[in-house]
Symmetry: C2
Subunit: 222 residues, 2 copies
Amino acid sequence: MLTLYHLALSPYSRKVRVALAEKGIAFTLKVEKVWERRPDFLRLNPACQVPVLIEEEGHAIPDSGVICEYLEERFPEPSLLGHGALERAETRRLVAWFDIKFGREASANLLGEKLMKRFLRRGEPNSEAIRAGLENIHYHLDYIAFLAERRKWLGGEQFSLADIAAAAHLSCIDYIGDVPWAKHPGAKDWYARVKSRPTFRPLLAERVPGLPPPAHYADLDF
Amino acid sequence: MLTLYHLALSPYSRKVRVALAEKGIAFTLKVEKVWERRPDFLRLNPACQVPVLIEEEGHAIPDSGVICEYLEERFPEPSLLGHGALERAETRRLVAWFDIKFGREASANLLGEKLMKRFLRRGEPNSEAIRAGLENIHYHLDYIAFLAERRKWLGGEQFSLADIAAAAHLSCIDYIGDVPWAKHPGAKDWYARVKSRPTFRPLLAERVPGLPPPAHYADLDF
């Protein structure tokens, strides 16, 4: 059985959870409070971040990008990257878009400031960063709508890691109520299709103690 | 023939150039001044960053991570990731370490502040960021020495993308004279071995107009 160290509102952990579920791989979840810098966890991942996957023989595989490539090599079907080098490159391009660009411009500014600083009591949230995050998210939602108008899913005709990465980030920001769905019907329609996948349900059922999500968060018909 | 859009002191472009050369793939280099946001280039990569690889039929593949995975699929030998899912995961872990963690903690603070702000005249370099970069680089060099003491190359017994990623970042910072080699003989010994590879020579011969590198930059016996 595989084990995944994670945090509930870590987009990168969520991406791996959905990828594992889409591939039908059973796994156990363990919460890792990375800010405690537990020595045993540092040995698993010197970068001290979640997610970390522990494979059957106990080897640790850190970093969500590394884990997803590993899963694709170990369990190739169903493929979450697609088939053919160009199709796979397009999926990976979008994964990088959401994990790096969206991550820096939206998730870090919103989740980083609002959640991490609140829970870790590391000073006041930076209101300028939050404002930037709330502004940046619009053009990313426009990009999602642009893609979803032209393709069945973000990366092409198949549901892929591109959809998973985008939805993983958005689901965390949606948990704190900061996704302006009403202004982005195209992106909303795509997200409704992701939400209705059985593999996404565990994320919608998740609750962080002391931080209830808005009512629409788990609602498939939001 | 493949074409690579790049910038001389972009670590991510350098990583792809060495990867292409190690695989023995011929390619043409084109400089792309990304800050000009050229419409034709934006169509190739809406994220407007280098590197972007144009394959034989004209398809654009952006993002250095995406390009390297594409090259590995199209031209599997010699492999730059290694063989076996675990070995490949370890290589990818280190690539992520250098591209993401080292990139944020060292390259962005040093190259971003000193080069981009100077050339683009976008305000004064942030001295706090530069100080952080100069401090952070030490523990990364310690980590390189730690790995190089235990393995022939950073990722294992074979020269891999882990070495290429680390050396690509360090070579750019070395160009502006900010790598404290004297204090890190273990890392220096490893870098000397990378420098002596024929595939690395074009990077050492490169010069940015108006910005000469320190004398030791291209010296194999520095």
